[in-house]
Amino acid sequence: MIGGAAAVVALVAGTLSAGAGVAHASQPQVLVVYSAQGYDQAEATAFQKATGIKVELSDMSTGPLLAKVAAEKQNPQWDVIWFDGNGAMSSMNRQGMLLQGWTPNDIGNYNPLGLSLLPPNHGFFPTGVTAAGALVYNTKLVSANNAPRTWQDLLKPEFRNAVGMNNPAISGPTYPLVAGMFQLMGVTRGMNYFEALKRNGLKIFPTNGNTLQALLNGTIKIAMFQDSAEINAKLSGDPVNVIYPTAGVTMLPSDIAINAKAPDMSAAKRFVDFVLSGPRGQKVMQDISAAGSDSLFQPVTKVINPLYVRKGVKWNVVSPVWAGTNEASWTQWFTDNIVR
C-alpha cells in the first residue's frame, strides 16, 4: 500500500509539476511579491517592463498574507512583502525575518513624513500613508455649515442615529482607528467616547462597502472609515465630503520589505529601489484606474504630489507594539460593548 501511495504521489505530482519546473528553470530572475495593495499589479507590470525581471505577484488580503508568510517559515518563497499597517511589519522586523541595514539608492527621495516612519535598521520602508478613519458626510443630508468638525461633534443630539462605522472585528483598517482614538483620548476616555457614541445611536456595519452604502442611501448621515475609500467615493461623484477632525486622525502606513532570506535578493532590492524611485515607480502607485482607492494615499516621497490634497490633516502615529498587544482584548471589548 505504501508503494501504491508513493506511486500515486509520483505520478500525480510528477506530471503536474513538470511544466511548472521547466518554466522556473528558463527564467534566470524571478521576483516573488506578496502584496495586499491595490496598485501592486500596476507596479509589478511597470517593473517588469523597465528591468526585464519577471514578477510573480500574489495579491491577497493582509490576513492570509501573514498566514502564508508564517507557514513558509522553513522554506520561504517570497522576496518582497507589501501591505498596510506597521504592526505586523514591526513584529517581523523584530524577529529578524526582514532584510536589515540595506539602503535604497533613492532614500533621499523621502519627505519628512517618510523619514519619520523609516525604522532605524531599515527593516522596512514606508511607501505611503492613509488615515485609518476620517469623517465623511452625505452632502445632501448635512449642510457644510452643520458638518461636524471634531470627534466630539458626533455626540450632538442632531446627529442622533446618524453616525456609522465599521466593525473592527471584521474590517482591517478599523482596529487602528479604535486604537488611535484610545491613544488620542486615553484608553478609559476613549472607551467612554465610543459608549457615548453608542448612546447617541452609533450604527456598526461590517466593512467600508456597507457603511458607504448606508451613508449614500440615507440610513446614516456621517461615517468614519479609511479616508482613501471616502475620497474615492467623492471623486467618483458620490455626494459626500471628507473632514479631518482638528484633534487629528490615526495614520495607517503602507510598508514594503525584503525577505532576509530572499531567494532572489538582487531582484528584490531592485524592486524596492524601483518603487521608491523618481516619478516612474512612485507615479505608478497613483494609477487610479488600475488601483482604485489605494491610489489616494498621502505620498511619503518628494517626487510625487498627492492625487487628492488632504486639507488640514493632523496625523496621529500609534505605537504598533502597544496597539498590537492590546488588539485581541480591545476588539473583544468593542464587540461586547459597542457592536451589540
Binding site: V9, S17, A70
Partner: protein, 609 residues
C-alpha cells in the same frame, strides 16, 4: 401490504442484503491501496501537518523540533471566548442541519414525486443556489439586513433585530445550504419512484403515514448524508461567521481560527487546537450517522419502480407553489438581484444607490482590467480539471470502501468528512506545510507555488463531497445485481463499466457539477496557494472589492456566475437528454423536471419478486 412495507423495505426488495465478503484478489487489493494512498496524500497528510501543531508547535519551525507542548490546547480550554465559540458553532450547525434538511426534503419531494407546476424551474433555482458563489448571496444578505437595509425599510426594526441574531444566522445558512440536502434526497426519491406512494395511498394510507412509514425510513441514508454535509459546512463556514454572526455578536469557531492565523506572529498551535473542536464535532456526528443508518441495506433501485404519474397535490397545489417560490426568491432571487443591480450602476463606489442611468461600464472595466477575464479562464481550467480528477478519485475510493469496513477505512472516512468541517484556510496552510518542505526540492516535488499544489488542494476539498454523495448512489444498487455479475464472471472493471457507472451516472454528473462550481469561486485555499502571477477568479474579484471598485467586482461576479450557471444547466440538460434518447423513456416527467436520469440497465430487473 403497503403499510407494512417499511420495516422490511430496507431489505426486502433488494433480496439479499448480503454484505459481500471482503473481496480478495490482486485487483481489489490494488484498488484499496490506491484509494487509501490518494486519501492519505490529498487530505490526511496536509490536515495532520496543521492539526499536529496543537501539540507539536515547532513541527515545522526553523529549526523543526518534535518537542511537545500543550500551550495551544491550554489556551483553548482556558479561554471562555474559545469555549463559547465552540458551543455556538455546535448548536448552530445542528440547528441549521435540521432546518436545511427539512427544507431539502420538502423541495426534493415536491419536485421529484408530485405534480407541482414549474418543477423544472424550481429545480434549476435550487441548483443555482448551490453553484452560486457564497459571497454573491452573503453580499445580498448584508444589504438586506444592514441597519436601514431593505428589511428595515419594509418591516421596521423588529425584523432586523430578529434576523441579526443567532436565529437569523441559522436562517441565512439554511437558505444557502438546503440544496445539499435537496439534491441528496432527490437522488433517493428517484430511486424510489412514485409507485410506493401510490400503492400506499391506494391501500388507504394517509399522507402522514406514507411519510412516516415509507418515505422517511427508505430515505434515511440520503437524509442523514445531506444533513451531515450541511452540519460540516456550517462548522467550516467563514463568510457568515465573519459578517452576520459578528454583527449579531455570536462568535463562532471559524472566526477564532482565522483570528489566530491572521495576526502576526501567527498562532498555528491555537488555530490547530481550535480546529480540533470542529474535528471532534464531525467525528461525533459521523458516529451519530452510523447509529441511525446502521448496517441495513438501502437498496431502492430495484427494477420495477416506475414513474408514470406524479403524486397529485390537489387543492394544495397553488399554496405549495407559492411557498416554494417565496423560499427561492428569498434565498436566491433577492440577493442575486442586488449584485446584478450593483453591477449596472455607474461609477460610484457604493454602486447600488448612486443615482444615474444603468450602464455597462462596469462590465467593460471587468473585461479590461488585468486578470479580470483571464482569471475566469484560469479558474475554469482548474475547475474542469479538479472536478474530473475529483470524480475519478471519488469513484475509486467509493468502490474500494464499498466493502472494506476495516479500521483503516473508518479512520480515513472520518478524515474525509473532517476536511469539510475545517475552514479552507486550515487546509490551505496544511498544504503549504506539506508541499513547501525543503527536502522536496531534491526529488523535484516542491509543488507549493505551482498549479499542481492548488489543483491537488481543490481535489482534496471536493473529495469528501464526491465520496459521500457517490456512496449514497452506489448504496442503492442491489448487491444481488453485482453478485450476479460476479458469478457470471464479470471482472471488477466490467462491473464498474457495465453496471455501476450506468446506474449512477446522474450521480456522477451532479458530483462533477458540485466540484466544478465549488472550485470556480473558491477563495480561501486559492488565496494561499495560487501560483504567484496567476490569480484565480475569486482572488481577482476580492481585489476589486478591496480597491472599493464594487461595480467592477459585481460585474465580474455576475458574468462568471451566469457563465457557470448556463454551463451547469446545459450539462444537466444534456445528461438527461442523452438518457432519454438512449432509453426511449420519454414518458418520465420527473426526469424531465429534474434533469437527472436514472438509467435502467438491460437484463437486470424484476427483482421485486
Amino acid at each position: 401490504m403497503a403499510l407494512h412495507i417499511a420495516p422490511q423495505a430496507e431489505t426486502a426488495p433488494g433480496a439479499t442484503p448480503a454484505r459481500l465478503r471482503p473481496a480478495s484478489g490482486v485487483g481489489f487489493r490494488a484498488l484499496s491501496g490506491v484509494a487509501a494512498a490518494s486519501v492519505v496524500v490529498l487530505v490526511v497528510l496536509p490536515l495532520l501537518a496543521l492539526l499536529a501543531q496543537a501539540v507539536l508547535p515547532n513541527l515545522f519551525g526553523a529549526p523543526p523540533s518534535l518537542a511537545p507542548s500543550a500551550v495551544g490546547l491550554k489556551s483553548l480550554l482556558s479561554d471562555p471566548y474559545m469555549l463559547s465559540s465552540g458551543v455556538n458553532s455546535l448548536l448552530l450547525s445542528a440547528a441549521t442541519a435540521i432546518l436545511a434538511t427539512a427544507l431539502g426534503i420538502s423541495i426534493a419531494y415536491l419536485v421529484v414525486l408530485t405534480d407541482l407546476p414549474g418543477r423544472r424551474i424550481v429545480w434549476g433555482l435550487v441548483w443555482l443556489i448551490l453553484i452560486s458563489p457564497s459571497f454573491l448571496l452573503a453580499q445580498g444578505w448584508e444589504l438586506l439586513l444592514a441597519p436601514g437595509g431593505l428589511t428595515h425599510g419594509l418591516l421596521g426594526g423588529v425584523l432586523t433585530r430578529v434576523l441579526l441574531s443567532p436565529v437569523g444566522v441559522m436562517l441565512v445558512l439554511s437558505l444557502k445550504l438546503f440544496p445539499f440536502s435537496a439534491i441528496a434526497v432527490a437522488s433517493g426519491l428517484e430511486g424510489l419512484g412514485q409507485d410506493v406512494v401510490h400503492a400506499a395511498r391506494m391501500n388507504g394510507a394517509r399522507p402522514f403515514a406514507v411519510w412516516r412509514r415509507i418515505l422517511l425510513p427508505l430515505l434515511t441514508p440520503a437524509i442523514v448524508s445531506g444533513a451531515l454535509i450541511v452540519f460540516a459546512e456550517v462548522l467550516s463556514d467563514f463568510g457568515v461567521a465573519a459578517t452576520l454572526a459578528q454583527t449579531a455578536n455570536f462568535p463562532l469557531t471559524t472566526f477564532a481560527i482565522y483570528s489566530a492565523l491572521e495576526q502576526f506572529p501567527v498562532n498555528f498551535p491555537e488555530a490547530a487546537a481550535t480546529s480540533l473542536v470542529l474535528v471532534g464535532a464531525v467525528v461525533l456526528a459521523q458516529w451519530g450517522q452510523r447509529a441511525i443508518v446502521g448496517r441495513r441495506a438501502f437498496t431502492t433501485r430495484w427494477g420495477g419502480n416506475r414513474t408514470l404519474s406524479p403524486v397529485s397535490l390537489g387543492r394544495k397545489r397553488p399554496y405549495l407553489l407559492a411557498a416554494v417560490l417565496l423560499l427561492l426568491t428569498v434565498a436566491f432571487v433577492v440577493p442575486a438581484a442586488t449584485t446584478v443591480a450593483a453591477s449596472v450602476m455607474p461609477g460610484g463606489a457604493a454602486g447600488l444607490v448612486t443615482s444615474g442611468h444603468p450602464t455597462l461600464a462596469n462590465y467593460a472595466a471587468a473585461l479590461r482590467i488585468p486578470y479580470g477575464a483571464d482569471s475566469f479562464g484560469t479558474s475554469l481550467i482548474y475547475a474542469v480539471s479538479a472536478a474530473t480528477i475529483g470524480v475519478l478519485v471519488g469513484l475509486l475510493v467509493t468502490l474500494a470502501w464499498r466493502r472494506g469496513r476495516g479500521w483503516l477505512t473508518g479512520i480515513l472516512q472520518s478524515f474525509l468528512t473532517t476536511a469539510i468541517a475545517v475552514p479552507g484556510i486550515v487546509l490551505g496552510a496544511g498544504y503549504i506545510f506539506l508541499w513547501d518542505q525543503p527536502v522536496l526540492k531534491y526529488v523535484g516535488l516542491l509543488l507549493y507555488g505551482t498549479p499542481a499544489a492548488l489543483l491537488l488542494a481543490y481535489v482534496a476539498g471536493g473529495l469528501p463531497y464526491s465520496v459521500r454523495v457517490a456512496a449514497g448512489g452506489i448504496e442503492q444498487i442491489p448487491t444481488s445485481v453485482i453478485t450476479a455479475a460476479r458469478v457470471s464472471g464479470g471482472s471488477l472493471l466490467t462491473i464498474v463499466r457495465r453496471i455501476i457507472l450506468p446506474m449512477t451516472r446522474s450521480t456522477w454528473v451532479r458530483i462533477w457539477l458540485m466540484l466544478f462550481a465549488g472550485v470556480v469561486f473558491e477563495l480561501p485555499v486559492s488565496q494561499l496557494l495560487y501560483p504567484p502571477g496567476e490569480p484565480t477568479l475569486a482572488v481577482s474579484i476580492l481585489h476589486q472589492f478591496h480597491n472599493t471598485e464594487f461595480g467592477t467586482g459585481a460585474a465580474l461576479t455576475v458574468m462568471s456566475t451566469a457563465a457557470v450557471a448556463v454551463l451547469s444547466l446545459l450539462l444537466l440538460w444534456l445528461a438527461q437528454g442523452r438518457t432519454r434518447g438512449a432509453k426511449g423513456r420519454a414518458g418520465a416527467p420527473v426526469r424531465e423536471a429534474t434533469g437527472l436520469a436514472r438509467p435502467q440497465i438491460r437484463g437486470v430487473k424484476g427483482e421485486e419478486a
